[in-house]
């Protein structure tokens, strides 16, 4: 049955609606269609069958006023829209100005790349120079160190030779087993006196029995300074 207009219908979940809804459209999920409409096969109601809808009559002055306002509004809206459209055309990517701008940007970019390239070349030249100098310095250093090593080797060799000759000379003074007794006898016969005396002028008087006054000035042995000896 169709429910009355202002009846309040309760749904399955307990909530209630204040607008009219066909009972048939209520579902378990709680959703429903809002609008109630007569089924299409039901004819027009008797009270409405010959109803003539009244024609609305607007007074002339009102019509004129409304037209005037509407025209004003339309003109303004059209003007705004047109202005925005023209601006979008002006700012578009394919417009003349933007193409020009793009070309200019590209040219600027190329210019800047060129400048960068020149700078790089200049710096490259300086770098080559520096690297070359470093290389030469390295070579010189290696040469110097080689020379130094060679010199050191030479000196070491000389020293070794010197040592050998000295030792050879020394070996000649060694006392052999056969000459031992002879050597002892000569040693006993010639005792060496290690005593000496030094005076403040640097004269040295050897022997424990020598008197400094007995030796004349010219024959006095002058002691060489340590530095001179070395």
């Amino acid at each position: 049955m169709i429910s009355a207009r202002h009846n309040i219908i309760s749904l399955g979940c307990g909530a209630r609606l204040w607008y009219p809804v066909n009972e048939a459209t209520l579902s378990l999920a709680g959703s429903q269609t809002v609008r109630w409409r007569k089924p299409r096969w039901v004819p027009v109601a008797k009270s409405k069958m010959f109803k003539i809808p009244p024609r609305t009559i607007t007074p002339k002055e009102e019509v004129v006023e409304i037209t005037r306002l509407f025209n004003m509004y339309r003109t303004q809206m059209r003007a705004v829209r047109r202005h925005l459209w023209e601006e979008s055309l002006r700012r578009a990517d394919t417009s003349e100005l933007s193409m020009q701008q793009a070309a200019e940007d590209e040219a600027e970019h190329q210019q800047i790349l060129e400048y960068n390239h020149q700078e790089n070349l200049r710096v490259a030249a300086l770098r080559e120079e520096r690297v070359r100098k470093e290389f030469e310095a390295n070579l010189a250093r290696v040469e110097a160190s080689k020379e130094k090593l060679a010199k050191q080797a030479l000196e070491a060799q000389e020293k070794a030779l010197h040592l050998i000759t000295e030792t050879q000379a020394l070996v000649k003074t060694f006392i052999k087993r056969e000459d031992l007794e002879e050597a002892i006898e000569t040693a006993i016969a010639n005792p060496i006196d290690y005593n000496f005396v030094i005076d403040q002028e640097g004269h040295i008087f050897r022997g424990c029995n020598t008197k400094p006054e007995s030796i004349p000035e010219e024959d006095r042995e002058k002691l060489l300074s340590v530095a001179q000896e070395r």
Binding site: W18, Y115, E119
Partner: protein
Amino acid sequence: MPFMKGKAPIRRTLQYLQSSRLVLRERVKVVTVNYNTIGDHHKGAQEFVFWHLSQLQYKNPQIQVATFKNITPSPFIRVFLDDGGDVLMDVDSKSRSDIHDHFRKVFCKSDTKLAEEERERQSRDNPANFGWGCDRQCICEVPGQVPCPGVVPVPKLMRGKYKYGKVLD
């Protein structure tokens, strides 16, 4: 200076960062600096990285900035553009200021361009706007407009929940 951390904490101050003019052009996407930590001819690059890299990143937060240390015999800056190509900038034995000027000339927006952009930004700011980043947060702050519904509730006829139907319990 609060939180004076690191060797030259002035590099962390807002004033220092904002005063830089190293705003990169739109084409540039990645900036890479290759240099060594020791070496006379790397000194300029070292100083450039020490003083100016933070400024560069501050002014260009969307650009990737990277450094590669101790893998190159001579220092260089390589910048990658949006078309995939790269531009090489040799900085061997150059001083910090030289590198800074050269970098600015080649990769950054010029002073005139920056001034132009600044002017555009100012003109686009409509004083009638309200919301985030504007003078007024909400239209309810303007005298003559509807007061804030959080303070004075709006009449029921203007509220959607009464106009378009509400489920009554």
